[in-house]
């Protein structure tokens, strides 16, 4: 009897231990998930305000953008088409890659709206440039890569883009006044085939293996420089050819008060290949 009492007490004590392992039912077990990447998305995002970002050159001249506004509509099926962040193996012999994939956004539900004002101040003359307004900006797939360069130090990155812009307008009288503007309507950027037709895929502008872009600091014959480079396409890690993209603008129109609009029609660049790009910043 006493031994039974002891057993009961010990059982009570053991039962009170919070760390004790518990069996899981099938339902509970089915809720266990293993993941090796991160998904993220925005919901109900908007930005407004009067903040001004100013760049001032060593000469004292300055350029500013201010009153930046942005918003994005959401997918009707939350969590179904997010941004994806993964670390994936690099090409053989190359480092791993941080990969950010944009939403597929096939139904174009995720639309961005942007607007900002800008101006310059130089040689004692301050000039407001008006507003830049971008309506219905849709990113469809594409993404970013970040890794270490194949040679030298720095940050290697890749970028792929398919973008459609409903309208890009430069409005000197402000973002709420479209009576005077230069409007580029229906801008489309994406990958194209050999005939210059859009394939529907993102245009791979840079790839960490096949044609890497790099940002670093280097020394040339005139000193140290901040350096951005898009390397020659690699035949080892790619086809040896840069990918092909295109830009189409459906319509370009200038509008002024009491004037008939000047319709310049459309513009198309069917095939663009960036073979090599080298930018050095210097004074």
């Amino acid at each position: 009897m006493p031994r039974r009492a002891l057993s009961v007490l010990l059982a009570l004590l053991c039962g009170g231990a919070a760390q004790a392992m518990q069996p899981m039912t099938d339902k509970a077990l089915s809720g266990v998930r293993g993941g090796d990447g991160v998904s993220f998305d925005l919901n109900g995002f908007s930005m407004s305000g009067d903040a001004r970002l100013t760049y001032t050159a060593p000469s004292g001249s300055s350029l500013y953008v201010e009153k930046f506004a942005a918003s994005r509509s959401d997918n009707s099926q939350p969590f179904s088409d997010p941004y994806l962040l993964d670390i994936v193996p690099g090409a053989p012999g190359l480092a791993d890659v941080i990969k950010i994939s944009f939403p597929n956004n096939a139904s174009a539900e995720q639309k961005w709206q942007f607007a900002y004002d800008w101006g310059v101040d130089s040689d004692g003359i301050a000039r407001q440039g008006g507003a830049v307004v971008m309506k219905d900006v849709v990113f469809t797939g594409g993404g970013l890569q970040v890794s270490t360069p194949q040679v030298n130090d720095g940050v290697a990155f890749g970028a792929a883009l398919r973008m459609d812009i409903g309208q890009l307008a430069l409005q000197p009288r402000g973002r709420s006044d479209a009576t005077e503007q230069m409007a580029l309507t229906g801008i489309h950027i994406g990958a194209t085939d050999a005939n210059g037709n859009f394939t529907g895929a993102p245009w791979v502008i840079a790839d960490v293996a096949a044609q890497p872009a790099v940002i670093n600091a280097l020394t040339d014959e005139t000193g140290e420089r901040l350096h951005i480079n898009l390397d020659w396409p690699s035949a080892k890690y790619g086809s040896g050819q840069p990918s092909t993209g295109g830009v189409v603008i459906d319509n370009i129109t200038f509008t002024s008060p009491n004037q008939a609009p000047v319709d310049l029609g459309s513009s198309r660049i069917g095939s663009i290949q960036i073979n090599y790009l080298d930018i050095k910043f210097r004074r």
Partner: protein, 158 residues
């Protein structure tokens, strides 16, 4: 019951009573109960001041450097006097159930009010000695004013 077993039982009961006494539930009257609120996340606001030159003992020349070494020569991207003030109200953080039933997500509520005051850096340069005087500045950046945000960032695993 033998003496040894009695002593063991008393010791165990004593341990139990001590453990239970600290967690014993207490009755609450209506007034106390009315003060109880339930929360499932946190919110925080912030006032951040970096390298404020107006403070006594302020550092007059601070550097943030990124180093590169490509051909045996060290080079640095140098930001001089990264400074400014940020007032932010408020970021929320919580864990929510996904509406599609596939687990939970971290919800980061974006701040409705962020004020930047003289936030930026005084010069950007590239040089071989990160502590040497800046002679090749590419210019400065500065951010002033208010940014209002709405919505949230949602994070989950895949």
């Amino acid at each position: 019951m033998s003496l040894r077993i009695r002593q063991a039982v008393l010791a165990i009961l004593s341990a139990c009573s001590c453990a239970v006494a600290g967690a014993a539930p207490q009755p609450l009257d209506d007034a106390e109960l009315g003060q109880v609120t339930g929360r499932d996340g946190i919110s925080f606001a912030a006032h951040i001041s970096i390298n404020d030159p107006s403070l006594v003992g302020a550092v007059a020349d601070s550097r943030l450097s990124l180093g590169f070494n490509g051909d045996g020569t060290n080079r640095y991207i140098v930001l001089k006097n990264l400074r400014g003030t940020v007032d932010m109200f408020a970021v929320s953080l919580s864990v929510q159930n996904r509406s599609d039933g596939n687990g939970d997500y971290i919800a980061i509520g974006l701040p409705g009010y962020v004020r930047y005051t003289n936030f930026g850096f005084e010069s950007l340069s590239v040089q071989t000695d990160p502590s040497a005087p800046v002679t090749g500045s590419l210019g400065s950046m500065n951010l002033n004013g208010v940014v209002n945000l709405t919505g949230e960032v949602r994070i989950w695993t895949h």
